[in-house]
């Protein structure tokens, strides 16, 4: 759809009487007399004007999924057309908002309802239409602009400058451009197209949520998203522009992990989608984010965050739409040249919403009742992640990292949603109920999880952190793997049967688990560890192995002297040493070496 089409409908803001309802089953309504309507058009159902979207057309019968409770609707009620496809409103004012699945601000719903419940039939603009923003042009009359070019800037929050871009499909010579205070719907510039037509540009634009926003090209990701999580950043990193998934049974800490990435990662914009999850969890985010300080900017986290909260008990069709609404907003900020991270918690609920609608449509089911298009929709969604060259003449790059939580029934990863997700994501954080049971958090299982991006980062790590980062990392990983094998032996025949070399492996692996991987997401100091400190701690632990190996394997070595070392006792406190520099870690590692050598 082109922008002009979109606008005329908006301008008129009229609802065209369309068809008449024939059948109602749950959130699905069928209406006759809809031959003029197009697929994915937004409609208003009955005199209550409940928002819905056409998801199928057969002759003049349209299948409509309704984004609100349908009780009290019946055959004979009217369906109004809007002429507009299901679109997200994009412009200044998105940041710090909290939306439902179809981009209605929950704050406005509360005002309109006058109580704490979501009453149906409430219409609310996604962004404040009356607020004036200070628009600073970055082009002047006479300049040539193409789609995606930045024509002006608005300070949206104290940390984010909103770039007003020429909408896709437009371009030409700048005929006029304004400077000053404007609302999002007022004209800020006029373009003269090649054929001499004049087109006005406003700060607000629309984009259909089910289509990916256009870009020039995708770039191969080579830089990690820094999250401050030791297990994530060092062992199973995700790329800026990458796609990752966190599957895990309930209670394994999916939400805590997602939230801590949202809090501390070095993306400039966070879109957090609570898709079919708990109401109180969203409240927690709402309570916390305005008070939490972003370690990267020193400002409250909320200033870079957009929340979409379609909790489990809110209408199921809106849940289906929520992930698309979220990712469209995320792409919009990516197009400005920002690094954006999107968290969807949980994509399983999104898949279930698809299943419910599909069942009502009486489609032939695939596996476990899920529609046959489950995996293609999942793949399409994750493929919208990426680091891209955006539209526009200035070769900006922006990235969109997508992290989806998956809630497999009973923690069984063989189910369709997990499988469909694993096929398209490259980082896999497997949350483990056994670890959670032992209160080891984050409960990312280091034996099963993987990151296919890690090889891409070797250069980055060597340059930005330390030349031997990759090597230390793989030593640590192999020690953990060895530990799990040795533990099987210990369980059968006890510790005594192990050689000193094996006992050293167990000791070092224990330090890795307890003093490196274990991280308290609720402790202010522990929740975020920058990469250089992660390396410092890891290297220190691995030093015990490297230096100890030769010494403990000497015949007649008394192992207990190793276990009693002073430096060994200090490892547990390494993560509390927030002020330590590279030199401090080196000094500690030297101490370790000399203490071990003294034992020999």
């Amino acid at each position: 759809m082109t922008k002009t089409e979109e606008k005329t409908v908006e301008d008129k803001n009229t609802d065209i009487p369309g068809g008449v309802i024939e059948r109602v089953t749950g959130p699905l309504v069928r209406a006759r007399g809809m031959s003029e309507a197009k697929l994915y058009e937004v409609v208003k159902v009955s005199e209550e004007k409940l928002m819905g979207e056409i998801i199928e057309l057969h002759g003049d019968v349209a299948a409509i999924q309704v984004y609100e409770e349908t009780a009290g609707i019946g055959p004979g009620d009217v369906v109004y057309r809007t002429g507009r496809t299901m679109s997200a409103a994009l412009g200044p004012g998105l940041l710090q908002s909290i939306y439902d699945g179809v981009q209605r601000p929950l704050v406005k719903i509360e005002e309109a309802a006058g109580n704490c419940f979501i009453t149906r039939g409430i219409e609310a603009d996604a962004v404040d239409m009356s607020k004036k923003w200070a628009f600073k042009p970055t082009v002047k009359a006479g300049d040539m602009v193409v789609e995606g070019d930045v024509i002006g800037e608005v300070e949206e929050t104290s940390v984010i400058t909103h770039k007003v871009m020429v909408p896709p499909g437009m371009g030409g010579k700048v005929a006029s451009v304004e400077s000053g205070e404007f609302t999002v719907t007022e004209d800020v510039a006029t373009l003269e197209t090649a054929d001499g037509k004049k087109e006005a540009v406003q700060m607000l634009q629309y984009w259909p949520i089910r289509a990916a926003r256009p870009k020039k090209s995708k770039i191969f990701p080579s830089e990690p998203l820094r999250t401050g999580g030791r297990s994530i950043d060092t062992f199973f990193p995700i790329a800026k522009g990458g796609a990752g998934c966190i599957p895990g049974p309930f209670g394994a800490g999916k939400t805590v992990t997602q939230q801590s990435i949202a809090k501390y990662c070095d993306a400039e914009i966070i879109v957090y989608i609570g898709c079919g999850e708990r109401g109180n969890e969203m409240t927690e985010v709402l309570d916390e984010f305005p008070h939490l300080i972003d370690p990267n900017t020193g400002e409250p986290l909320m200033k870079r965050t957009i929340l979409i909260a379609n909790t489990s008990n809110m209408p199921v069709a809106a849940r289906e739409a929520s992930v698309y609404t979220g990712i469209t907003i995320a792409e919009y900020y990516r197009d400005m040249g920002y690094n954006v991270a999107l968290m969807a918690d949980s994509t399983s609920r999104w898949a279930e919403a698809m299943r419910e609608i599909s069942g009502r449509l009486e489609e032939m089911p695939g596996e476990e009742g899920y529609p046959a298009y489950l995996s293609s929709r999942t793949a399409e969604f994750y493929e919208r992640a990426g680091i891209v060259k955006t539209l526009g003449g200035d070769d900006r790059t922006g990235s969109l990292t997508v992290i989806g939580a998956v809630s497999p029934p009973g923690g069984d990863l063989s189910e369709p949603v997990s499988q469909a997700t694993l096929r398209v994501t490259k980082t896999f954080w497997s949350l483990d109920s056994d670890l959670a049971y032992k209160k080891h958090f984050p409960s990312i299982n280091w034996l099963i999880s993987y990151s296919l991006y890690a090889p891409n980062f070797e250069e980055f790590w060597a340059k930005e952190v330390a030349p031997d980062y990759s090597q230390v990392r793989s030593t640590a990983l192999s020690l953990l793997e060895k530990e799990s094998k040795l533990m099987e032996i210990v369980r059968l025949v006890g510790m005594e049967s192990l050689s000193n070399g094996d006992r050293l492996v167990l000791e070092v692996a224990r330090m890795l688990r307890e003093d490196f991987l274990f991280q308290d997401a609720f402790s202010k100091d522990d929740a975020y560890t920058p990469l250089d400190r992660q390396y410092g701690i890891l290297k220190s632990i691995v030093t015990f192995f490297e230096a100890g190996q030769e010494v403990v394997t000497k015949p007649d070595f008394e192992y207990s002297t190793f276990a009693a070392m002073e430096t060994l006792g200090k490892v547990a406190t390494l993560k509390d040493e927030l002020e330590w520099t590279k030199e401090d870690y080196q000094k500690f590692q030297d101490q370790v070496r000399s203490e071990i050598n003294a034992l020999a």
């Binding site: 109602v24 409770e69 009290g72 704050v107 509360e110 704490c116 109401g279 199921v316 009973g410 209160k439």
Partner: protein, 465 residues
């Protein structure tokens, strides 16, 4: 006067199909008069197409006839008359007075389906609830506005634990809870057990009971919990009360849903349960919470039995994804005679952090809890090891942990059905037990905490003894 329809084309299981219907709406209440009966039966519209309505009956369909049965569409959804006078009363699963007392004069009529609470209007639950059960108060703290189910199994004493919580639950400022209690398809004895417990504890006058037993119509169970929650919302958000809702047994509720779904020939999800089971359960569980500007709160304790103690069965599994943690009843502890047999490690309260600490419980709570968890876990590992390798292979620290785990289960978890422990008492017992362990193994508590609390706990516990 609305029109009556007599063209009933089919009655199958809980569903009835009416033809020739005009102007009926989705979810509309339907009154069904069967020939020769005085009392109408009720149902609601589940699927409405031009001229044809599928009606899901709330009452039993047995004895209904295709001819001679008249259906009247009431023009509104199912509503429940509510008033403060419901406290102290007993209702059946359909919301009718069942204690022989006078009919209720409703102050309000509310739609039982309720409306979703706006996440923006919620307030985060953070007021500690003292249940008087140490394994809950210290290890898996419950807060006001939380939904925390009890995962149990056949033959386990979940009813006794729920009754104990209902009797003892109080908040720090001393306030008692109003209790809304609903049984869903349980036996008469179990329903009667609760009624008596409430009566004996003098809690009946602050309780509302909805009783649907196994003998009552299966589909009635689908509306019973909604009536209970509608009552709870009224008491909490209109009358400013702190309400504790106990629902038992949700497994029966889910089976009723499955029955309706099967009758509609819907595509099933796992184990024959409908694909929308998660969404449906969330419309019950999410009706708990605290909201801005309202005095009252709703705390929910649903009870469910896990078939074959299997936590991955769809009912506990989907419940766990919605609720904020779970209390798991341990068969092992129960068989060893520990009451309440709460599986401390398997249980979880997601909101515990909001309810503990200085000003709520006590400043040492968090660290003590972490230490108890860690030491107990070590103790249980040692216990397993001792089975394989024999006690002889243990060192002193191992042996101390083994003893600690035994004592923890016997004295901390085990406390008896009628003992109402204050959280301070429970914390002191925790410290006393920790003194069995070598100080060097206590890594989660700080030195000064050990000095301050372990001493005092010894004194107080001894003084009590």
């Amino acid at each position: 006067m609305s029109k009556e329809y007599t063209d009933i084309s089919s009655i199958a299981g809980p569903l009835m199909v009416v033809d020739g219907v005009e102007g009926a709406k989705y979810e509309e209440l339907v009154e069904v008069n069967v020939a020769g009966e005085d009392k109408p039966r009720f149902g609601k519209v589940l699927d409405i197409a031009k001229g044809r309505a599928v009606v899901q009956m709330f009452d039993d369909t047995s004895g209904m006839t295709a001819s001679g049965t008249r259906a009247r569409f009431k023009g509104e959804t199912l509503k429940l008359g509510v008033s403060e006078d419901m406290l102290g009363r007993v209702f059946n699963g359909a919301g009718q007075v069942a204690d022989g007392g006078p009919e209720l004069v409703p102050e309000q009529r509310r739609d039982i389906a309720g409306e979703p609470i706006n996440p923006y209007s919620r307030e985060f639950p953070n007021d500690f609830i003292q249940t008087g059960v140490g394994s809950i108060d210290v290890m898996n703290t419950l807060v006001r506005g939380q939904k925390l189910p009890i995962f149990s199994g056949a033959g386990l004493p979940h009813a006794r634990l729920a009754a104990q919580i209902a009797r003892q639950a109080s908040v720090k400022d001393g306030g008692e809870f109003a209790i809304v209690f609903a049984t869903l398809g349980v036996s008469f004895e179990e329903a009667e057990y609760f009624r008596r417990e409430f009566e004996e504890a003098g809690a009946l006058e602050r309780s509302v009971l909805f009783i649907n037993t196994a003998a009552d119509p299966v589909v009635e169970r689908i509306s019973t919990p909604r009536m209970a929650l509608t009552t709870a919302e009224y008491l909490a958000f209109e009358k400013g009360k702190h309400v504790l809702v106990i629902l038992t047994d949700l497994t029966n509720y889910c089976e009723a849903l499955r029955e309706v779904s099967a009758a509609r020939k819907e595509v099933p999800g796992r184990r024959g349960y409908p694909g929308y089971l998660y969404t449906d359960l969330s419309t019950l569980y999410e009706r708990a919470g605290r909201v801005k500007g309202k005095e009252g709160t709703i705390t929910q304790i649903p009870i469910l039995t896990m078939p074959d103690d299997d936590k991955t069965h769809p009912v506990p599994d989907l419940t766990g994804y919605i609720t904020e943690g779970q209390f798991v009843i341990s068969r092992e502890l129960y068989q060893r005679g520990v009451f309440p047999p709460v599986d401390v490690q398997g249980s979880l309260s997601r909101l515990w952090a909001a309810g503990v600490g200085e000003g709520k419980t006590r400043e040492d709570h968090k660290n003590l809890k972490d230490q108890l968890f860690a030491s107990y876990a070590t103790g249980k590992e040692v216990r397993e090891l001792a089975v394989v390798l024999g006690e002889a292979s243990l060192d002193d620290s191992d042996r101390a942990h083994l003893k600690f785990a035994d004592a923890f289960e016997a004295e901390f978890v085990g406390q008896g059905e009628y003992e109402n422990r204050s959280v301070e008492e429970s914390l002191d017992i925790g410290w006393k037990l920790l003194s069995m362990l070598p100080v060097s193994s206590l890594k989660r508590v700080k030195k000064d905490e050990i000095e301050k609390w372990m001493k005092t706990s010894e004194n107080t516990v001894e003084a009590e003894a």
